[in-house]
Amino acid sequence: MDAGIITKIYDLKEYLTGVFSANQQEISHNDTPFIAAKRVKAFEKFSKAGFPHSALERWRGTDLTRALNHEYHTLPESPSADLDIDKIFKCDVPHFETLLVSQLNGWYADRKNLLQVFPNGMIIGSLSAASVKYPALVDAHYGHYADDNAESLTALNSAMWQDGIFIYIPDNVSVEQNIQTVNITDFKQNLFLNTRNLVILGENSHLRLVQCDDSINHDVTFINSVTEVKIGRNSTLDHYKMQNKDDHTTLINSMYFHQDEGSSLTTNAISLNGGLIRNFSHITLDGPHSSASIYGLYLMDRYQHVDNQVYINHAAPDCESRELFKGVLDDHASGVFNGHIKVHRDAQRTNAFQTNKNILLTDKASIDTKPFLEIYADDVKCSHGATIGQLDAEALFYIRSRGISEANAKILLMYAFAAEVINKISISELRLRMDDMVKKRLRGELSQCEQCVLNCSTHVHNKVEFAIDLAKI
């Protein structure tokens, strides 16, 4: 029996499984047999497990009930061939040399040219198209790193994705430009989106990848994004995730990194706004002398919720992982940090360091932080530390005693707190822009409606000497 207008409960699982059964052929249209078989298995797993709930250890602090209780639509149609993405989105970070790769509602946006092959052998395009044109390459990596067993949302994604970005960097290629992917959602109804990306770096290669999430309308959106990344021997990846979504958006961003010997990963997730954001970084250090640096900054207010889950799987000896996550939570905002480090028995001489620092500005804001070390090797160096505090009273007085108002003194201290993570951004133009964005965010000037997370400032300005001009407030 249908409940009343106030207590109505939608059965999203039933809706999605129904859609899958009815459209399985169409969804699988471009699949390799391997991918198609994966879909069926993944669908079974999701059907059995259902959506994650707070009884699961990894989901204890994040309740999806409200986010799931909407009348969603899924399987959006692919954009038409004459889509001019520049009309919807334009990036104007000054001096930011990027190769822009756009997605609209999960679909690779350049429908006239689904796969671009560059002179150096790099391929960028639609994952769906790549599985038709390069089946062996896709099959060798797709589904090998993402874990459909551990996360039912990943299984749902593996069953229902339609498209996403495919990036292939051959051996011995250092990509000069920054590659920036922008996932825009623009749909007339509430949208439940499963988007799937695959990034493959060969050996001795180098890539800088900036992933932006953005929305341009204000309907309720649930994005369930899964990205698999293979980093080959002695390759390096600088990866950035920029999130500035509106309060109606739920963003589940699951990243599965798999690293070979001597490879190096830096990944930095900066969450400035978003109704509910969950960043799950799953990193397997599978070859000796590989290293991973995982950074995150979150600035949340109102009723926003952010959840950072890091799982580092030290499977090989002589590897190093460093985690630094910092957050400021205001109003009723809530956060979760779970840092799980697993060191296998053979992973001797592992170094693993983890830090999570939080500032709570109100007594209604909350953070649930939990380090979890699982160590089976005997020669390891592991450290972890978590702090939760308020702004330092002594520092506030020091700043105010110079004539700076209490409100501005607080902003200055929050900025100083956030700067440690911002300074880890190695692309200088991006660092300056993020620096600017964080200041705007802290001053309450940053809105989510502006098109791109990197596009916050409509006027271009190049002054950098005075990083924070509070006098303008």
Binding site: D392, A393, E394, A395, F397, Y398, I399, R400, S401, R402, G403, I404, S405, E406, N408, A409, L412, L413, Y415, A416, F417, A418, A419, E420, I422, N423, E465, F466, A467, I468, D469, L470, A471
Partner: protein, 248 residues
């Protein structure tokens, strides 16, 4: 410039200052000495407006205005400066930035527009030269990774930039080697003008060899028990605080 009358201050119900009287005129340098735990830093904090101190009696009249009840930033804008015993580190915020923000907020308080960038930078250079500071201050974060001496020099530099009417230097000499002490003292002397005043709070007489005070006060158990000329500091050095304790 500053008249403190019968000032009584408590922290969490415990009386720390038990009736302070102090008169400071423009152009003067006053030294406040005394053993540890007698209320010297409390006096500095109360004048500067730190929260958590309860003024139970008395008033602090600064340039004709009672400071009691004003916020720390309002007092700073009125022309008060506190040099901290333990300056706070603010990572990620450059000194340039910090001072420009402070100056512009103080200007706003007085109805002035922000200082033009070129003028501000010229002033920074001028003050750095005056204080013989070699460090590349501008780009460094406020006090971050500074040695004890650098922190104190930075306090004097901020004082030079903000040009306060009254500066209170709280144990600025503690932990300084002789070179840093000389730079700090030279700075204070160079910044001395007929229209400003300085209160130097110190435990030792050493600093007063470099900064010659007009008046020396001895604070003991929350009261000023003795005031005199610069020779009082020498007497204290000779006879020790026991002498005061016996007199009090």
């Amino acid at each position: 410039m500053l008249s403190i009358r019968n000032l009584k201050v408590s922290i969490k119900g415990k009386e720390i200052l038990k009736g302070i009287n102090l008169e400071i005129n423009a152009g003067e340098v006053h030294a406040i000495m005394g053993p540890n735990g007698t209320g010297k830093s409390t006096l500095a904090y109360v004048i500067a407006g730190r929260e958590g101190y309860e003024v139970t009696e008395g008033e602090i009249i600064f340039k004709g205005r009672n400071l009691v009840g004003l916020s720390a930033e309002e007092r700073a804008c009125e022309g008060l400066f506190l040099g901290f015993q333990y300056p706070v580190e603010i990572p990620g915020v450059s000194i340039t930035n910090f001072l420009r923000t402070a100056i512009n907020e103080q200007r706003k308080y007085h109805g002035l527009d922000p200082v033009p960038a070129a003028e501000f930078l010229a002033r920074m250079e001028e003050k750095k030269k005056m204080l013989e500071l070699q460090e590349k201050l501008a780009s460094r974060s406020v006090n971050e990774g500074f040695s004890g001496g650098e922190k104190k020099k930075n306090e004097i530099f901020q004082m030079a930039m903000l040009e306060p009417s009254l500066a209170i230097l709280d144990e600025t000499d503690s932990g300084l080697d002789i070179d840093a002490l000389r730079i700090v003292a030279t700075g204070v002397n160079k910044l001395r003008r007929p229209d400003n005043a300085t209160i130097v709070i110190t435990h030792y007489q050493r600093l007063l060899e470099y900064i010659v005070p007009d008046v020396v006060h001895v604070l003991f158990d929350g009261r000023i028990v003795k005031s005199g000329g610069k020779e009082l500091a020498l007497q204290l050095e000779e006879k020790g605080y026991e002498w005061i304790r016996n007199e009090a």
